[in-house]
Structures are given as structure tokens and as C-alpha cells.
Symmetry: C2
Subunit: 480 residues, 2 copies
């Protein structure tokens, strides 16, 4: 490692020393985020926003494939509208930022900046749903939402964050339930195949479900520090909001019916997940399929004749092959450049100097493993594409091993507590389904229920907390 490199990397706290500090160091040094003068409101810098743009681009195409259409609804919700669904307002009102003045005038009714948009969508659905022919309505919105939280951390907990929120209405419960599962699977596939983040799919307990939902489904993943992160959620509402907002449609039977509703969302929190799943003590490590720059090309001895041209030719070839490639021919030293793109987590570095040109070869250095290989320039497009796939697979395998190695079964509350204290991770136990036991696990072992996984195992017949008959196997953990 060159001297410059060491110097820059030394500015990042080792994750083993202070994981939280390592995380914020990476966010700052990789230029993903900056602080603003309002606590908890962050600035998405170009490199951080470019990751979000790639997430948007990929997911938006998936949503549209299933017939979803994008819309944009107002950012303000009249207080009376927010109050229409009782559970919903109880959950969100404490976190609302309220607009009380318009220009120099006090408003007659105060408006909250949307913390989520179910109520606004219901108001609109009432206007546009009249007949079964108007169903399903499959809407999605890309926007920012605001939740006035007390504590904040880059990407993980912002007062204002970017997200997408899908809102759909269906003629019956079955179709709505299918949609809830379909979109959960879209999230799971995206996280695994694009972000290289293995997930556990499951249902939230009643305590952990979304305010106003009948059921909430989740994809949970595990970070380097063995804490859990909720990657995305998908909610089934039944016809609760439809009744509260009096939304009906004339069915084929010519009778009025209440439609059934879903909503589902992921946010820029996923970027926090990427950092804590793949990053290392040298900085960010980006999964190739989401990286704004997949290959950084660094000319060696760039002042010698023909070097820049040969590097540019490689850039052109790789770009033509559909890869995201940049060349850094700046006056910075090679050591500085190596450190810079290592910090920024660019999956692959390509070096090409006069000797390589003579030999019709170049050097490829993998960000994930540091492995360095000389490869022929013949068919370099395929070589690079294959190596990017291999990096994706390695990142996924490493994260999967972290998840598997740190998922433990426990057969008593004490054991669950001891494992959490000693090792951390996800701890699976049977559960009777009662809130009291869930609260006891939180109080005594510091863990919340992460989900009732779809992949159930039978670890016994009784709840290890109360001894009553068990209903489900649950994953418990300390979560972001």
C-alpha cells in the first residue's frame, strides 16, 4: 500500500474499535453524505445520491414490469385527514413536523409534512375508484418523507429521507395479499441479486407491524456488527382504511364493496445496509451491480506517449459493453488514486502502463479481496464482466456466511440472553404468540422480534419464555 493510501485510510476508525464511528467515517470520507444545520437532516452528496439513483432505476423498472404507475401527491397532510384512521395517527402523530403558518398568516388547520402517505392516497383513491373496472390501482411514489426523530444517524435514521412508497387497491383480499407477497419478493430478489445482501423473509409480530396494517412482511438482513437491519416492508391493510375513508366500488354484482389495500417501501436506509454489509477498514465496498462506477481505469506513467490513448480505448470498449467505467488521468499520484477509489469502494481497478501495452495486457485489482491479476486485453469486456459477477458472488457468499454463522437457536430466555451478550446475531426461539413474552424478551435480553420467518423450524413444543404451547418460531435480535 502506498504512503498516501495509508494516510487516508488511517483516518477511518477500525470497525473492531468502534463500529459506529467506522460507519460515520465511511459515510463522510467516501463523500456519501454531509451534515446540514438542522439536526437529523442530511445532505445526499453526488456519490451517495448516485447509488440511490441506481437503486431507483432498477426497482422502478421492476415495479413497472408488474404494471405499477408513478404518481406524485402533496407533501402536506391536513391534521383532520391524518386522524381518519385511528391506529395510523397514533403511530405517526408524535413524529410529525407541523406547518402552522402560510406566508404571514396563521393557518386555520395545521398540516403535517408526510411521514408516509396512506391517508393522502386514500383521499385520492376515493376520487378515482368507482367501479371494479377501475381496479386494481397500482401506484408508486418516489419522494422524501419526514419523521421528527430524536436521534439520527446517516442513512439509518434521518428526519428527512428518500424512499419509494407503493400504494395499491384491489377488488378483493386475495389479490391484495398476493400483491403484498409479490412486492416483498421484488425487494428480496433485488437485495440478494443486486445488493448482494442475503435476507430473511418473514412476517412482523403484531407489536412490530406498521400502524394501521393488518399484516406487515419484512426482509431482514445482518450487518457486520451482527445487528439486524430491516431492509424493506410490505403491508396488507385489508379494507380498514377503505372503511375509514369510505372508499367503495360497484362490483360486477352492481353492489358496493370496499377495496383491499397494500403499501410497501424501501428507503435510502438500504445504502446504510450496503455499507455495513460489505464495507471494510479501508472504506466502502460496493456491490458491482449498484456501484456508480464499476471500473476505475488508472493510467500508469500517463505522460509517456500513447498511454492515455490506450487507456481511453479500454474505457471506450468497456463502456460500449454496457459497463460503468471512469478513467482518472488527473495529476494526483497513483498512490492517492488507489486510496481514493478503495475508499469509495469501486469494485474493480484497471491499471494500464507502457509495459502492459507492449504485452497486450492490463492489471485488474479487486476491491473485495485485493487480488491482483494480469489479464489479456483480448476480450477484456468479458473478462471484466465475469470478474464483476465473481465479486458479486463473493460479497454475497461472505454476507451469507456472516448471517448463517451468527444465527443461533435458543431454548430458554436465559440462553437467548447469554448468546446475545456473548455473540450477538439473530437468535431463533419458539414463541407462544403473546405480547407479554415479546416484551419480556425485550426487557431481559434487549432484543426485539425481527420476524416470524416464512422458513419455520420446529425447535420444540413450548414457548421458552412462558412455557405455554408454541405457535411460531421467531427471530430475535438487536436492530438498527
Amino acid at each position: 500500500m502506498a504512503q498516501d493510501n495509508k494516510k487516508q485510510v488511517e483516518e477511518i476508525t477500525d470497525m473492531e474499535v468502534d463500529f459506529a464511528k467506522w460507519f460515520t467515517d465511511v459515510c463522510k470520507k467516501a463523500e456519501l453524505i454531509d451534515y446540514s444545520s438542522i439536526k437529523g437532516m442530511f445532505i445526499y452528496r453526488p456519490y451517495g445520491y448516485a447509488i440511490w439513483e441506481n437503486i431507483q432505476h432498477t426497482l422502478d423498472a421492476e415495479f413497472k414490469k408488474y404494471g405499477h404507475e408513478n404518481v406524485y401527491l402533496p407533501m402536506l397532510i391536513p391534521e383532520s385527514l391524518l386522524q381518519k384512521e385511528k391506529d395510523h395517527v397514533e403511530g405517526f402523530a408524535p413524529e410529525c413536523a407541523w406547518v402552522t403558518m402560510g406566508g404571514s398568516e396563521e393557518l386555520e388547520e395545521r398540516y403535517c409534512i408526510r411521514p408516509t402517505s396512506e391517508t393522502l392516497f386514500c383521499e385520492h383513491f376515493k376520487n378515482v375508484i368507482h367501479s371494479y373496472r377501475d381496479l386494481p390501482k397500482l401506484y408508486n411514489q418516489w419522494c422524501s418523507v419526514l419523521r421528527w426523530e430524536k436521534t439520527s444517524r446517516p442513512f439509518l435514521r434521518h428526519r428527512e429521507f428518500l424512499w419509494q412508497e407503493g400504494h395499491t387497491m384491489h377488488a378483493n383480499s386475495e389479490e391484495a395479499r398476493e400483491e403484498t407477497q409479490r412486492m416483498l419478493n421484488v425487494y428480496a430478489d433485488f437485495m440478494e441479486n443486486v445488493l448482494a445482501m442475503p435476507v430473511v423473509k418473514g412476517r412482523k409480530t403484531d407489536k412490530e407491524k406498521f400502524n394501521g396494517a393488518e399484516e406487515t412482511y419484512t426482509v431482514e438482513c445482518m450487518m457486520h456488527d451482527k445487528k439486524a437491519l430491516q431492509g424493506g416492508t410490505s403491508h396488507y391493510f385489508g379494507d380498514g382504511f377503505a372503511k375509514a375513508f369510505n372508499i367503495t366500488f360497484a362490483g360486477k354484482d352492481n353492489q358496493p364493496h370496499f377495496p383491499h389495500q397494500t403499501s410497501w417501501g424501501v428507503s435510502t436506509r438500504l445504502i446504510g445496509g450496503i455499507i455495513m454489509t460489505h464495507g471494510d477498514n479501508n472504506g466502502l465496498v460496493l456491490p458491482p451491480r449498484i456501484a456508480p462506477t464499476q471500473v476505475i481505469v488508472i493510467p500508469v506513467a500517463q505522460h509517456k506517449e500513447g498511454v492515455i490513448e490506450a487507456n481511453q480505448a479500454i474505457v471506450d470498449r468497456l463502456t460500449a459493453a454496457g459497463l460503468r467505467v471512469k478513467m482518472d488521468a488527473s495529476e494526483q499520484s497513483p498512490g492517492w488514486k488507489f486510496a481514493e477509489y478503495e475508499m469509495k469502494g469501486v469494485p474493480l481497478r484497471l491499471e494500464l502502463g507502457p509495459k502492459d501495452i507492449e504485452k497486450n495486457q492490463c492489471v485488474l485489482v479487486r476491491r473485495d479481496s485485493g487480488e491482483k491479476v494480469f489479464v489479456s486485453l483480448d476480450n477484456i469486456e468479458q473478462t471484466v464482466a465475469d470478474m464483476l459477477d465473481s465479486i458479486h458472488d463473493s460479497l454475497y457468499a461472505k454476507a451469507k456466511k456472516n448471517l448463517d454463522d451468527n444465527t443461533f437457536a435458543a431454548y430458554s430466555l436465559e440462553e437467548a440472553k447469554a448468546i446475545q451478550e456473548e455473540k450477538g446475531g439473530l437468535i431463533k426461539t419458539m414463541w407462544c404468540g403473546n405480547l407479554e413474552c415479546e416484551l419480556k424478551m425485550k426487557e431481559e435480553a434487549g432484543m426485539s422480534s425481527r420476524c416470524i420467518p416464512f422458513a419455520q423450524e420446529n425447535l420444540g413444543e413450548t414457548c421458552p419464555i412462558c412455557g405455554k404451547p408454541a405457535k411460531h418460531m421467531v427471530y430475535w435480535g438487536v436492530a438498527y
Copy 2:
């Protein structure tokens, strides 16, 4: 025209009867927009939002071509931050919506929802600009902004609207001025080549320029009712904000310097412009290069064997050729379908029935002219692409004729007033450059200055309002 068609079209007020009503009818009936429960805050419905997505897609690629990067800054501005630049706050404070409560607590300082983000960008620029190596900073943001206006109209005046705001910082005045012009030209080219809207490029008078800017440039266009619409603006700030925010960088001379700044923006107002430039009494007419659906394929006698398959084959061929195509094989009558896509302004309708299939032909009907032609299915991709180009050219030529035919020279205030009352349109006169004469034109003839066009003409030596020596030729008009 089929019976169903007539019925639906009759729901649109003729523009000659009531232009404002025609406009809102089209916005509603073409399903571009819906009203929310807050006055002036509108819902962008899927079809309206899809037009905006196409605008975003095209402009974003242009911005990136010139090296701009997207970022996202907070939606809230602390009052003290907004106040840092005097002219700026004076212009915007009266239109701010103020957040005064976070959760259940009164805030120590109130925050306004961004009406525009110069102050936020300056706060961030101060953190990230240190050396000449950090310049230029070429940032853009896609977001919504909020201005608490008293009156509202779909697309033209929303309390909350979608836009992009570019914010750039440069090492010196020349580079910043170049950027201001470059982005004005990006807007002008986009409007002419993509939206088929001819523009007049020019500079705003001091009275009409952006609050806090040294110079504002504009692209103005003319609507069907001969009113002017400002399509986009580009501002040169000099180092005024940099000084107010104390942003400096170390130059190559190692001395501190103030950077020079620009900002530029277009909004969903452009959609209002599209409607009022191209629409007709049958509804929306979309320029082909921005239309969400460029070709609607309508199977004739669709229950006969092979008809749907043959239509699907055409859809596949046109889609493979990069065109945006949809087929409507629903149970609605052909008349209903014709009216529906006419209302929605789809540029081209393709009809294909059993007889056509036999003859290896189809019917193409242009939305702009109603012209109906039979064409061979051989090379249908090229035929359709050429016709879409021809529609673009026709729309542009028609709009250009409207602009040219309704631009008049006047040589006295009385004459300007008389022309405005009798004919409307843009009226060009010489001008001394003084605010008093500008105010007098507004008071007596009801016209604001639209711009000092780059294409100057010499209509005389004196200002027709005060008789003093003339400095510029100005365009005056009644504007949206």
C-alpha cells in the same frame, strides 16, 4: 367521429369560449391532474407524471453530459439561513410555509419549506469548496418546492410543484456566465427539439429578475391565447451569495477568492405550456418526443381469429424499434377508444383489422391533423418513426406561426396598449431601461416586460414611453 367520441369531447369547453375552462377541462379529462383537499396542492396522476418522467429523463441526460451531478438537500431552511442574503429573503419570505412544531414540541427556530434552495446549497458549498481544485461544482437537484401563493391553477401555479434546480459554483465570473448561457441553451434546445415549443431567448429586466441574482435569462413562449409563458430561467449571481455566506477558495495564487455562482430551473409548468401550445378542442395533443405513448394500436374486429396476434406483432416490432407503443384490446367500443386516445393526445393511432392483414397494410391516423392514411406493413417501423418526426415538425411550425403572427412592433405606449387589447401577443418596443417606464407599461397597457431578447432590432432611437434615448428593444406581454 363516433357517437361516444362526440359525447366525451363535448365535456371539454371550447377554447374559443373559455380558454381557462378549456385548460382545466383538458387537465382533468386527460387524467393529468387531480385536486387534493389543500387548495393549490395538486395530485400528479400517472399520465401527467409520466410526461414529467420523460422530461426528467431527457434533461437529466443533458445535464450529465455537461458534467452535472445530482444531489439531494433538506427540504427545510432555518429562518436565519434564509435571511443571509437580503434581496433573496425579501422575495421569498412572503411565500414561505413555516414549520413551527416538531412532534409535540415548539421549535426554537422556525423552518420554512424550501421555495428554492440557493441558501441551502451555499451552506453546503461552504463545507465542500476549499481550493480551486474543488471547482467548478456542478450540482442539480430534482425535488418539489413550496410557495404559498394565493391563487392556483393546474401546472401553472401550484403551492407545491416539481422542478429541477441546478446550482453551480465557478472559479471566476467568465466561467459562471458561460454556464448561465449554456444551461439557457439546453432549455431552449429541449423546448424546441423535444417539446416542439418555439422560444424567445433573452434577459430579464432588473424588475423581473430572480431575487438575489445579478442577471436572469429566460426562454419565453407563446400560448394559444397569445399570452406568454416563461419556460425556464437561468441566473447569474456573481459572488453575492458567496460573500453573504463567506464561501472562499484558495486560488492558484494561494490567496482566498470568492467563487461565482449560477442557478437554473424548469418545472412541471412546462406541462402547462405543452397543453396550451399544442392542445385543441378535442383535448390534449402531445409532441411525439415527450408523449408517454407515441402510438396507440387499436385492433379492429378483435374477436376474429388472428387479429390480436397480428396487432401484437406490430406492437412488438415497433417496441423493438425503440418506440413507446401500447395496444388497447379492451372490451370498450372502437369509438370510445378513439375518443380516449384523442383526449389523451397520443400522437399516432394505428388500426389493424382482418382486411388490413390480408392486404399487408394498416391505418395510421395523426392526432395533430386527423389525417388518415393506409400504409404497408413492410418497414412499418420507419414509416411510423418518420410520421412521428413529421408530427413534431408540424406542431413546431404551427406554434412558430402563432408566435410570429402574434408578435408586433409598437412605436408608442398608446399603440402598444391598443395592440394588446385588440390582438394580444408579444409586443416589441424600444426602451430607455428605466423602471418608471416599465411600471407605466404595466399600469397603462397591463403588460410586463417578458425579456430583452438576444435578437435585438432597432425600432427607433427613443423610448416610446418617456422619449429619452432607447437602450434596448424589449418584448412586452401578458404572462402566465
